[in-house]
C-alpha cells in the first residue's frame, strides 16, 4: 500500500516538475512564479464548470478523459526504483508500450467524444503522429530488452552495472525520449493540441476534465523521462549517493534536457513527421537493434 502511494506521489511530482519546467520560461518570477502558476491553474480548473456539447458521445468522451491520467500512473508502475518496481513482471517493457498504446486510443476518444471539429482534427493528428513513432519506439524498447536479455525493467537496470546502455545504443535513447514527447503530444509534437486548431483535443475540455488530461499529459512526460533514465542511463547506479537519489537526479536531468530542447523546436506537422519517421527512423532503429544484437552475440553485455 505504501508502495502504491509512493509511486503515485513520485509520478505526480515528476509531472508537476515537467509542468513547472514548461512554464518556467513564460511565467512571471521564474521557477518560483512557475510553481505558483501551475498550482493556481490546477486549483482554478478544479472549481471551474465542466463543458457539455450538443450530441456528443458523453460516455466515450468522459472515458477517454479519465483514462489519460490512469494510464500515466499505470505506466509509472513499471519504472524501476532502487531495484524494484511496483509491478514487476517478465514483460515490463511491453506493459509500458501497452499503456502508451492505450493512451493513443484515449486521446483519440478525447478528440472524438465532444462532436466538435477542432478536437476531432486534433485527435486524428494524434493518430497520425502515433502511427509514425510507434514502430521506432517499439524497436528502441526492444533494443534495451535485447541488451539486458530480459523484458523485466529491474533486469535492464541491473544489466547496466558496468556500462550505461546509452553508450552502445544512442539512437534508441534519442528515439525513446522523442517518443515520450510525442505520446504526451508536447513540445515539437504538440500538433494535436496546437493553437492553429483552437487548442485541438484540449479545445472542448474545461474544469476537472481539462485538469485530468493536463495532469495525465505531464505525468506521462515525467514518467517517460524516469523510464528513459532507468533503461538507458543506468537507473540508480552511481557512486556515493543511494539508488533513489540517483534515479531522481537522472530523471530530472532527462526531463530538464527534454523541456529545454522541446521549447526550442517548432511544432512538427504530423504528415511530414510520418514521412521522416518511416523512412529514416525505422531503418535507423533497426540498424541499432542489429548492432546491439551483434554485440550481445560477441558477449559485450
Amino acid at each position: 500500500m505504501t508502495a502504491v502511494v509512493a509511486v503515485l506521489a513520485g509520478a505526480v511530482l515528476l509531472g508537476a516538475a515537467a509542468a513547472i519546467a514548461d512554464r518556467a520560461v513564460t511565467a512571471r518570477g521564474g521557477p518560483r512564479g512557475a510553481t505558483t502558476e501551475v498550482l493556481r491553474s490546477g486549483v482554478r480548473l478544479l472549481v471551474k464548470g465542466r463543458r457539455t456539447t450538443v450530441a456528443g458521445d458523453r460516455l466515450l468522451w468522459r472515458t477517454g478523459v479519465a483514462a489519460v491520467p490512469v494510464l500515466a500512473i499505470a505506466a509509472a508502475a513499471v519504472v524501476p526504483v532502487a531495484g524494484r518496481s511496483l509491478l514487476s513482471t517478465s514483460a515490463d517493457l511491453v506493459w509500458f508500450n501497452a499503456m502508451e498504446a492505450l493512451m493513443w486510443a484515449a486521446v483519440w476518444l478525447v478528440g472524438w467524444g465532444p462532436n466538435s471539429i477542432h478536437p476531432l482534427v486534433g485527435g486524428y493528428r494524434f493518430l497520425a503522429q502515433g502511427l509514425a513513432y510507434e514502430l521506432p519506439l517499439m524497436f528502441s524498447l526492444i533494443t534495451a530488452g535485447l541488451a539486458a536479455g530480459s523484458l523485466r525493467a529491474t533486469d535492464v537496470v541491473a544489466a547496466q552495472q558496468g556500462l550505461w546502455f546509452v553508450v552502445t545504443m544512442p539512437v534508441a535513447f534519442v528515439v525513446f525520449v522523442a517518443s515520450a514527447a510525442a505520446f504526451a503530444f508536447w513540445g515539437p509534437f504538440a500538433a494535436p493540441a496546437s493553437s492553429d486548431i483552437g487548442g485541438g483535443v484540449l479545445a472542448e475540455l474545461s474544469g476537472p476534465d481539462r485538469l485530468l488530461v493536463q495532469v495525465g499529459r505531464y505525468t506521462l512526460l515525467g514518467v517517460s523521462a524516469a523510464m528513459a533514465a532507468a533503461l538507458f542511463l543506468g537507473g540508480g547506479h552511481g557512486p556515493w549517493l543511494p539508488d533513489v537519489v540517483w534515479t531522481a537526479v537522472k530523471s530530472l536531468a532527462v526531463l530538464g534536457a527534454l523541456v529545454w530542447l522541446g521549447r526550442r523546436l517548432p511544432v512538427v506537422r504530423p504528415d511530414r513527421f510520418v514521412d521522416v519517421a518511416w523512412m529514416v527512423l525505422v531503418p535507423l532503429t533497426l540498424v541499432q537493434a542489429l548492432v546491439v544484437a551483434l554485440l550481445v552475440l560477441a558477449g559485450a553485455y
Partner: protein
C-alpha cells in the same frame, strides 16, 4: 504464477461475462466508434484473463496489439464511412440470421468442448520465466521459418498497398522520372 483461489476464479468469471457482454454490445450499438471500443473492451477483458492465467507476456502483447488495431480502425472509419458518428441511427449488421446461427452454434460447441473434454493432467511444473519458455517454444527450432514468413508477410503488405494506390512514381516524378521535387497533393516531407 497463476492464483487458483476463489477470488481468482470469481475475477475470471466476471472478466468472461464482461468479454461476452461487450462483444454482444459491438452489434447492438449504432455508432461505429462505440462498436470499435466495445470490441477493444472485449479484447482487454480477454487479455486480463490471460494475465490471470500467469501468461503475462501474452496478456500484455494482446492488449497492445488489439489497441493499436482499434486505433488504426478509427483511421479507416473516417476514411471510408459515410456516418461513423452514429448521429443518425444506422444498422451495421448484415446477414443477421446466418451469422446468429453460426455464432451461437460455435459458442455452444466450444463451451461443450471446454466442459466435456477429458483434459490430460499436467506433466511438469510451472516455468520460472514463462516469457522465455514461450519464446523458446515458438521460435526455438523454427526461427528460420518465422523470419522468412515475416519478411514474406511484410512484402505482401507493401505490394498490396502499392497496387492499391492510384498514383505511381511516373505521376509523381514525370514521364522521364526527372522532376526534382515530387508533385504530391500534400507537399512536404522528404524530397524523394
Amino acid at each position: 504464477m497463476p492464483d487458483t483461489g476463489l477470488a481468482a476464479h470469481l475475477l475470471a468469471a466476471v472478466l468472461g461475462i464482461v468479454a461476452v457482454g461487450t462483444g454482444i454490445a459491438v452489434f447492438r450499438v449504432d455508432s461505429m466508434a462505440r462498436a470499435t471500443f466495445s470490441l477493444l473492451a472485449s479484447f482487454l477483458a480477454v487479455a486480463a484473463m490471460l494475465g490471470l492465467l500467469g501468461l503475462t507476456y501474452l496478456a500484455v502483447v494482446t492488449a497492445l496489439m488489439m489497441t493499436i488495431e482499434m486505433a488504426i480502425m478509427a483511421v479507416f472509419m473516417i476514411m471510408f464511412m459515410m456516418n461513423p458518428a452514429g448521429l443518425m441511427p444506422m444498422t451495421m449488421t448484415h446477414n443477421q440470421r446466418g451469422s446468429f446461427v453460426a455464432g451461437t452454434t460455435t459458442f455452444v460447441v466450444l463451451t461443450a468442448g471446454v466442459w466435456l473434454v477429458d483434459w490430460p493432467a499436467r506433466g511438469g511444473s510451472l516455468p520460472a520465466d514463462a516469457t522465455r519458455q514461450l519464446g523458446e517454444a515458438i521460435m526455438g527450432s523454427h526461427m528460420l521459418v518465422m523470419l522468412v514468413i515475416g519478411i514474406g508477410l511484410f512484402a505482401t503488405i507493401l505490394a498490396g498497398t502499392v497496387l492499391a494506390t492510384a498514383r505511381g512514381r511516373y505521376d509523381r516524378f514525370g514521364a522521364e522520372l526527372d522532376r526534382r521535387e515530387p508533385s504530391d497533393p500534400l507537399p512536404g516531407g522528404l524530397p524523394r
